[in-house]
Symmetry: none
Subunit: 219 residues, 4 copies
């Protein structure tokens, strides 16, 4: 459909030109994150993307070459937000129980308030990974970084390496993934809250064992 002119006006100077190009690129990526999180990659059409980003269809090809070319940049854009959220959540100070609570609560907030971040990654993983190695690598890297962030967060916060930290990281991530899927299927907040209450209990039990063991080993 022929539409009116969408962009402000033709930029004169070459640097302004580059800046506006960058802005267009960002707008496309924002729209892509939203739409892929909402409906998955396959169901996100170039056209829908353009409408949401207020950009002309060919702009996507200029900036990303093809629809495929969006995948990795989109993953990377989500990655930072993801890791940030986790690092903000990972426990740093206070007594052990308070730190654990803060950690679990941070994850819960991630799932309840910005579920689309997690959802996008899961959707891409489930939809497409067997096809494109680059996508696979990007996703693998994110999951890896998330795990590392948790592990080193725990170790730092405790002042020493902790045997269960990898285990805790995996459990936490598993609960997060599962919570997102579950939330899509049963959006009642109470359900999600119960989910994370269970995570807290599980982690407590796992840590409790270690604590007791230490008390026995070195009283």
């Amino acid at each position: 459909m022929p539409a009116g002119s969408r962009n402000r006006s033709a930029p004169a100077s070459p640097s302004a030109r580059r800046a506006q190009g960058e802005a267009t690129r960002e707008r496309i990526l924002d729209a892509a994150v939203e739409l892929i999180a909402e409906r998955g990659f396959a169901a996100t059409s170039i056209d829908a993307l353009c409408q949401r980003a207020n950009v002309v269809r060919t702009a996507i090809y200029w900036h990303f070459g093809a629809k495929e070319g969006l995948v990795v940049p989109v993953i990377e854009r989500v990655a930072s937000a993801w890791i940030d959220e986790i690092q903000r959540a990972v426990f740093r100070e206070g007594d052990p129980l308070a730190r654990l609570d803060r950690f679990v609560d941070g994850l819960r907030q991630l799932v309840m308030e910005r579920p689309h971040l997690v959802r996008l990654l899961l959707a891409l993983a489930l939809e497409r990974s067997d096809q494109d190695p680059a996508t696979r690598a990007a996703l693998r890297s994110i999951f890896e970084r998330a795990r590392t962030a948790i592990v080193s967060g725990i170790d730092t916060s405790l002042g020493q390496p902790w045997p269960e930290s990898a285990l805790i990281a995996r459990t936490a991530l598993a609960f997060v993934s599962h919570a997102v899927a579950q939330q899509l299927v049963d959006p009642r907040p109470a359900e999600t809250r119960q989910h994370f209450a269970d995570l807290r209990t599980a982690l407590l039990l796992m840590i409790g064992a270690r604590l007791r063991e230490r008390e026995v080993a070195a009283p």
Copy 2:
């Protein structure tokens, strides 16, 4: 399966006719399960479905009304297989440790050998649940049944209700979901195996606490 013979052979009796209709329906569902598990719902075209099921396009509309109409039947068809697998895995006899191992191993096999079952459900949840309440309800019901199956399996196998059984169920399912996503992104078997080794450890720690507590309470 004895496909390849287009169902052009004349069906004799009136009941035979209805039976053949049922067979066509089943063939479509089989194909749908396979394809949706492989590529997701959106990327599964009616045409591909027909080719795989050896059926003409309109047959799908006769039996299911629309592409949408496949979703719930497909979910229900996968549901049984899913629950069966879990029930086969849930521990029943032997000493506690052996039962736990058998349970975790069952789940690992599910993920490694029939990942498409889990994948289909997750993909449908992530792709489509916002839109259609019926899909959402069907998926919610499956997840619920899976959890119930584990809980009652544990309780039965222990001869009494067990305070942590719900927690265990949730943890196990979370690990299963996460393992499937992870496996798609990093298909090395060793990774998946490690994943389930971690699940075993986690469950052990959680059960261990309870066991110790009992020993203290009633020595």
Copy 3:
């Protein structure tokens, strides 16, 4: 879509069987009149017909052979209603002015209260007549009968042949056709009423001339 059984139950006796067949046929025709009047012949699908008539798809083929086979019976069914309306309207008694008013008012009611009768005929004429001679003949016959009904109504009501009766008939029918088209495009009742007020004036002027002429010829 497989639906439940729509008809009451299997009729036992052969005469009951025939009666029910006739009833089905009537229901199909009723539905066809409604739908063709609403959306034209081409846009009326066999399926929509079945739903409206509460009849199974193949019943239409049993009773009418093909979609085409509906056209002439539908026209004939509408024809009687049409001619009846006109004959009810055509003036019979009272002084000339009252009779004229009654006639115009009858036509106005036809257009305002049962426009689908006229609409169906016009739609069929405009959509299809160049293709099928049988349709064309049926429509021609109706229009002819309508004209004849008016002419002989006028002559009977005046007790003698009237030179302008054919002219009046044609004018009246033209106004009816035009009013229906106009009404579809501008459904305000006031417009339609004005339309027929104009018809009344036009006829008065035409008759007035003749009356005056008679007065001059034989005072």
Copy 4:
């Protein structure tokens, strides 16, 4: 028309490109007018349209968004031709009788030589007006303009407003509509000619009354 050469030849300037787009749009509209006049809107397929316009299927969607989007432009395109024909017919000079003859004859020619113009409008009105308000508005506007053209033609030709001009306009349009429908059902030229002879008589009678009245008022 110089068709047959698919527009694959490279357009040079940026304005030439836009001009070529406009040309494509026009070609589609031309084809649409022809086909809809021939078979009605519902029976005109996008494919047939493309073949006739020598254009690829998607071009229609680019220029008009959907099949629906053709309706109003098509109506508007026919409108001008319609109004032109009428204005050419409306009487301007000569003695009253000659002017009347010329007017009726113009309408007759419109119906006999370019019936598709009228047919298209009637078909659209009967097929679709319930649904889309934009279509309805466009058609209403045309009929209105046609009436106005006649009224002001009469008044101009007589040098003063004439009390019956609105009545004459409506009668003439009613006869035109009716004649088109009648002609489709009974294509014998003699019939159509008789139809317009009747129109002439009718108008004469209506005008005659007024003339006599004037003679009485101002002899």
